[in-house]
Amino acid sequence: MNMIVPLLSLVPGERGVVVDLRGGPNFRSRLYAMGLAPGAVVRVLENYPRGPVIIEVGGTRLALGKGMASRVFVRKL
């Protein structure tokens, strides 16, 4: 079963396909310009309990705040 979950809930090593960015226009455009667009495959590298989520997408590493990672929705792979 392919669940749609917030990126925040993924543990290091897990991958997902971005399906939705739930936020304002500024939030959306910032993320997809950096490669986090619908269809992008994301791999979580680190998900620190008190700190950022580090992901890999399109050959680059990004650090996201917890708030942002909770608004990026992915289909788990």
Binding site: R28, G39, E46, Y48, G59, T60, R61, M68
Partner: protein, 662 residues
């Protein structure tokens, strides 16, 4: 004939600056884009006897209207009429980099060259790119580069020259979207066809930007075609989004990547990706515990480096100017002119230039960390803490720099992405005790508290607390959106020394120009006040009279007119506070001065003086820097705010202390 213009565009962290430096060398100029505090770099290169002007656009991921940087880049591409656009693409992240490329193509620009940088690094990561096929797929020339080593730069110059002379025909590929989206683009294009906007901008670009609800393009439509037209178009878009059940910009972005992905299959192949050194380092450097330890160590090294080399150089320059003044003095017969030249001008220029080594070394260390990619890690680490005070994580850099000198620290706030963050960060920076204030604090703590380090530490902690709480307060009053926290962690890359030196040199030169005039004028004023109508020490000079004038106010916090004179001179440079006391006590220095001050003041008064000196006002060079990075109004606001805070704290400490019987 006017010089042909080359615009340099690209994502951040792709080596754009290195390419800019490799192209232009020393022939460059740093300024600001008109009306905004975004750095504008221009340079010139010559090829086949012709000179080209290279304009380095801000590094951006896209060309939306959401940030100043992106708007600046976009407006230049649209209205600056560049003859050639060089789009720097990072070979290690082609998919994302081509997103910007597609935006450039969609703007209708034809004279585009792709500078494919970091090819060697990509190969190490198992990414194979065929430049010829890539050029065919994109419809524009592709020049592979390794900018750090200088490989490919001559080829790039040649291509720019050929393109500027119309010798290269291009056919930039435009992203195709799903039929439904294409239908919307077509519909909006039709709405705009034949209007005055259509003459000035490509229809397809206008249509796509409207679908993405781009503020600036919506304003364009409103201004040129009226409210009716805009409403008609936006209603249509609203209906389309209703059908899709999601925002149009999201759909377009997704499909754009899909299109790019399809393109890359024609020229790119992935091997097996290995774990890189960066992956391993990041496990430590952004770790919530080890990361902070590493950061403390790195900044300790930076300070060690800057002060170990900078302080002696500063001493040498100070000495040299002092001796130059002594040498000049006997040659000027007129007493007034001699005083003005020796104490005012030479002393003033001397104190500006003596700052130069410190500023240069600070910028050198910072540029190194920035170009290396480490600053991004610092920003990630500090985000959680600083965000609580209304600042982004990156703001830790100017805060720490302030411990050395607030002038380069204020200038470093320009590395923050959002205008709002920049304003808040430069507002609170002068609270951070610089090295000049360290000398005052250590002198006073030495005199009144037997050099107890805990007292000095308390003053530092108080200063940081005031700075952070002020940031929290001020950020409420500065309008602007909170910047979304997403930061790229670029691959670590040793920067090229040439590029570093060039960059630091430009920055420090700017410091001398900007802060220099202010310090010079300040020194002349100080010289005048302390020599007229009679020299200081008699109680009749303007300086001493000013001291008596502010004395009633300072009495509220237990300080006298001597503190008044010292604090006034401290505005020029904070270390003046002690040297003024020295003059007022008839030239006593060192331990003798400490003893004299101790017999005149209680430890509580000494503590108040130390706190007030630390917080009361930015020095004149810092005021100049704040003005240069924002405007006079903001510089004035900082000054008034600091005087208020320092006064309130001074009065509070004095009265609470007295009540406690200290």
């Amino acid at each position: 004939m006017a010089m042909r213009v080359v615009a340099l565009a690209g994502n951040p962290n792709v080596g754009k600056t290195t390419i800019f430096n490799a192209l232009t060398g020393m022939r460059q100029h740093v300024g600001n884009w008109p009306g905004v505090t975004v750095e504008k770099k221009e340079g010139v290169f010559e090829h086949k006897g012709e000179r080209f002007l290279v304009v380095d656009l801000p590094g951006t991921y896209s060309l939306t209207a959401h940030s100043v940087d992106e708007l600046v880049a976009r407006n230049f591409l649209l209205n600056g009429n560049p003859d050639v656009v060089v789009d720097v693409v990072d070979a290690t992240a082609v998919l994302r980099n081509l997103y910007l490329t597609m935006e450039i193509f969609e703007m209708g620009l034809k004279n585009v060259i792709i500078a494919l940088n970091k090819v060697d690094l990509a190969e190490k990561k198992g990414i194979k790119i065929d430049p010829v096929k890539m050029s065919k797929a994109l419809g524009v020339p592709v020049v592979p580069l390794n900018a750090k080593e200088g490989a490919g730069i001559e080829e790039l110059k040649e291509k720019i020259w050929e393109m500027a002379h119309g010798m290269i025909k291009t056919n930039p590929v435009l992203p195709r979207y799903d039929p439904e989206v294409e239908r919307e683009i077509e519909h909006i294009s039709k709405c705009l066809a034949g209007t005055e906007l259509a003459d000035r901008y490509p229809l397809r670009w206008l249509a796509i930007k409207l679908l993405q609800r781009d503020d600036e393009v919506m304003k364009l439509v409103l201004r040129h075609l009226g409210e009716e037209k805009l409403k008609e178009i936006m209603t249509h878009i609203g209906e389309a989004e209703e059908r899709y059940g999601r925002a149009m910009d999201l759909i377009i972005a997704g499909q754009k990547y899909e299109f790019i992905d399809g393109l890359t299959h024609e020229f790119m192949g992935y091997g097996k990706a290995k774990e890189t050194l960066t992956d391993q380092l990041d496990r430590i450097l952004v770790h919530p515990v080890y990361g902070f330890i590493a950061m403390a160590f790195v900044f300790y090294l930076v300070f060690k480096f800057v002060f170990a080399f900078g302080m002696p150089l500063q001493g040498i320059l100070d000495d040299a100017f002092g001796r130059f003044g002594e040498w000049v003095a006997p040659h000027i017969a007129n007493e007034t002119l001699r005083g003005l030249l020796v104490d005012g001008v030479i002393g003033g220029v001397g104190s500006v230039l003596s700052f130069f080594p410190l500023v240069f070394l600070l910028f050198l260390a910072l540029s190194f960390l920035e170009d290396l990619g480490y600053m991004a890690r610092v920003a990630v680490l500090m985000e959680g803490i600083l965000r609580k005070f209304g600042l982004p994580g990156k703001a830790i850099i100017p805060l720490i720099l302030g411990l050395g000198c607030n002038v380069p620290a204020v200038m470093a706030t320009r590395t923050l992405d959002e205008e709002k963050d920049r304003l808040v960060a430069m507002f609170v920076n002068p609270f951070i005790p610089c090295s000049a204030r360290l000398s005052v604090i250590s002198f006073l703590v030495g005199a009144f508290f037997g050099g107890d380090a805990l007292v000095a530490l308390a003053i530092y902690l108080l200063a940081f607390a005031v700075a952070l709480l002020s940031a929290k307060l001020v950020s409420r009053f500065v309008s602007g959106e909170e910047s979304p926290f997403v930061i790229e962690l670029p691959e670590f890359l040793l920067p090229s020394w040439k590029s570093l030196l060039l960059h630091s040199w430009e920055r420090s030169k700017e410091f001398v120009q900007k802060a220099g005039t202010v310090i010079l004028v300040g020194s002349i004023i100080i010289w005048y006040l302390s020599n007229y109508p009679v020299p200081m020490g008699t109680g009749k000079s303007y300086a001493e009279r000013l001291g008596h004038l502010v004395a009633p106010y300072l009495n509220l916090m237990g300080l006298d007119w001597k503190a008044g004179v010292s604090l006034i001179f401290g505005i020029i440079a904070k270390e003046n506070v002690i040297s003024t006391y020295s003059i007022l006590y008839g030239g006593l220095t060192g331990d003798a001065l400490k003893k004299a001050m101790m017999s005149a003041m209680s430890p509580l008064q000494g503590f108040v003086l130390a706190v007030v000196t630390t917080l009361y006002v930015p020095c004149i060079a810092t005021i100049g820097a704040v003005r240069a990075e924002s405007n006079w109004k903001w510089a004035l606001a900082v000054t008034v705010y600091m005087i208020t805070v320092a006064s309130l704290l001074g009065i509070l400490i004095w009265h609470v202390g007295t009540a406690m019987g200290l």
